[in-house]
């Protein structure tokens, strides 16, 4: 739709080709980007499932007819239905939109897709103001206008959704840092509803972990501790309500299956430093004294990876799992030129690697060098997702194969499953009595890890 809008602005009429399952989303985005009139030529069905012959037949037929009608102005205008979540007259921040019992408030919000399916804390003005007491910032400050619905992300709305998510008021500085990330154009919130169905993962680093009682031992990724759980919940709730990423009956979230809620992951700062490694915030350019949050997309996790024995054997296993878990998506990595997996190392594993002389950089390089996948699978994923331009035989023939790929086409060749070693994130946390690691798979250029320092009220 962005290209349609750009064309229309130049006086060039546009029509968008959209498959059936994505028409509602396209109309919602067209409306939000100010081009509700742009015709949509619907491709009936699911494109990659159809045979080439069927694709050609449909495209020569109904799609071409819709394209021609759209360019000639013969297509009727269909701007779609107004979203369930929208309101006829947008209230001011402090307007009371509803009064009722806790159950009635939840029903009212649920009917309008303002919740995530779990009960919310009613966002009263008093509760919101309790959050605002933890910042110097003006409640009406517009942090940014965020896609896809073009809404204002404000300090006030961060507090409202923080209340709803069940956060405590003292979490508010973290929530503001997370909204800053969501609002950063580099994070690409407009891709928050893409079909891989990624879920944000928040990683907390710094003295704040202990101060606010984040869990970072056994069960650290389970719902339970209020800080981990409510802050993880806040990210998704805010993405639903302000950017407007909502699955059906909403229109803008097309995550096909969708990754479930991620609680906030808290780094084990004490243990990380005890083995001589730098914590994540220092690696991201902040000081030991700083508190930071990092947010990134995660669309899959590896199975638990138990490692033990010599360091190289442990790293070989981690590299193998990284390759098979993330590797099939490698074509998208090279198309989008971004790839930032997160390797969560159990404390005992990290300690054993450190005692063998491995620091984080050495581990990254080892995993980069050893994490491979057969090129035929890279190509298969691309082709079956319809990325037909990523055909290795053709790319190799013209010398355009990705870096690290062989110069002659060989479907059995092992190729890199990562783009750059320094893009492999490593965090130490979890059960200090167990050797279980896990790999979190990030979705290329969408929500690349973004780290912000938590800023507290000056009088705190």
């Amino acid at each position: 739709m962005r290209a349609c809008a750009a064309a229309e602005k130049e006086g060039v009429p546009a029509v968008a080709v959209i498959s059936t399952g994505f028409v509602r989303q396209a109309r919602a985005i067209a409306r939000a980007t100010g081009i509700p009139w742009v015709p949509i030529a619907e491709y009936p069905g699911t494109i990659p499932i159809d045979s080439p012959e069927t694709r050609a037949e449909k495209s020569r037929g109904v799609v071409a007819t819709a394209v021609i009608d759209g360019l000639l102005g013969l297509a009727g205008e269909d701007v779609g239905n107004v979203p369930v979540s929208a309101v006829a007259v947008e209230p001011s921040p402090r307007d009371i939109v509803f009064t009722g019992s806790i159950e009635q408030v939840n029903d009212y919000f649920d009917d309008r897709l303002w919740t995530d399916g779990l009960p919310v804390m009613p966002p009263t003005i008093e509760r919101v103001e309790a959050f605002l007491a933890h910042t110097d910032r003006d409640p009406d400050e517009i942090i940014s206008v965020v896609a896809p619905e073009g809404r204002e992300a404000t300090v006030w709305s961060a507090a409202v959704n923080g209340v709803m998510a069940g956060c405590k008021p003292e979490y508010f500085p973290l929530l503001l840092a997370l909204v800053e990330i969501i609002a950063d154009p580099a994070w690409r919130i407009q891709d928050g509803g893409s079909t891989p169905g990624w879920e944000p993962l928040v990683v907390v680093s710094g003295p704040v972990v202990e101060r606010l009682g984040f869990a970072h031992g056994s069960g650290l990724m389970r719902l339970g501790p209020r800080s981990n759980t409510s802050i993880g919940r806040f990210m998704r709730l805010y993405m639903r309500n302000v950017p407007g990423i909502r699955q059906p009956p909403g229109t803008t979230d097309k995550g096909s299956i969708g990754q479930g809620l991620n609680v906030a992951l808290a780094e084990d700062d004490e243990f990380t430093r005890s083995i001589g490694w730098q914590p994540l915030r220092v690696e991201k350019g902040f000081s030991l004294e700083d508190d930071t949050v990092t947010a990134m997309s995660v669309y899959a996790q590896s199975p638990p990876v138990y490692t033990g024995g010599p360091a190289e054997e442990q790293l070989d296993l981690l590299a193998y799992v990284l390759g098979v878990t993330a590797g099939p998506w490698t074509s998208m990595i090279f198309i989008n030129k971004q790839w930032h997996p997160l390797v969560l190392l159990a404390p005992p594993v990290a300690e054993s690697l450190a005692k063998s002389g491995y620091g984080k950089d050495e581990i990254r390089q080892y995993l980069f060098d050893k994490s491979k996948i057969e090129s035929k699978w890279v190509e298969a994923v691309a082709l079956q997702a319809g990325a037909t331009d990523f055909q290795l035989s053709k790319l190799t023939a013209r010398g355009a194969q990705p870096e690290g790929y062989p110069t002659t086409y060989d479907p059995e060749a092992l190729v890199p499953a990562n783009m750059r070693p320094d893009w492999i994130n490593i965090v130490v946390s979890g059960d200090r009595g167990r050797n279980q690691n896990r790999i979190f798979v990030q979705n290329h250029g969408q929500a690349v890890p973004n780290t912000r320092r938590i800023v507290y009220r000056s009088t705190s």
Binding site: A3, A6, A7, E8, E10, G11, V12, V15, A16, V17, I18, S19, F22, T33, G34, I35, P36, W37, Y43, T46, I47, R55, S59, R60, V67, I68, L71, L72, G73, E90, P91, I96, F98, T99, G100, S101, I102, E103, V105, F109, P122, P123, T124, V128, V145, G150, R151, E152, S157, V160, N241, G244, I335, K337, Q338, A385, A387, T388, D389, F390
Partner: protein, 109 residues
Amino acid sequence: MAVEPREPQYEVVWPLGRTHGDERPSERADRLPDLAGRRVGFVWDFLFNGDEIFDAVRDAMTARYDGMSFVGWNDFGNIHAADEEEVMAEFPFVLHKHGVDAVVVGVGA
């Protein structure tokens, strides 16, 4: 008669953000009266078999209208990959450089 305790009532505020005032409907390009002799650009996100779809649409168009010409997706670049910002910055110039009369953009899927 016992009086049932009344449940607490909560006056709640709106959790969304206001639609930004600058997001007014953009300028609308005129539709074309005819496609004969027109130049159409295909703008692709390099996904979902768009190349096949566009080829078939092009064939259908040329079968119905004389004198059409086309600007391919490689001339515009990938509108959904790492270079998206650069591609979109160049997009207006590419449109005018090639004298494009209309664009078909895809594929959303």
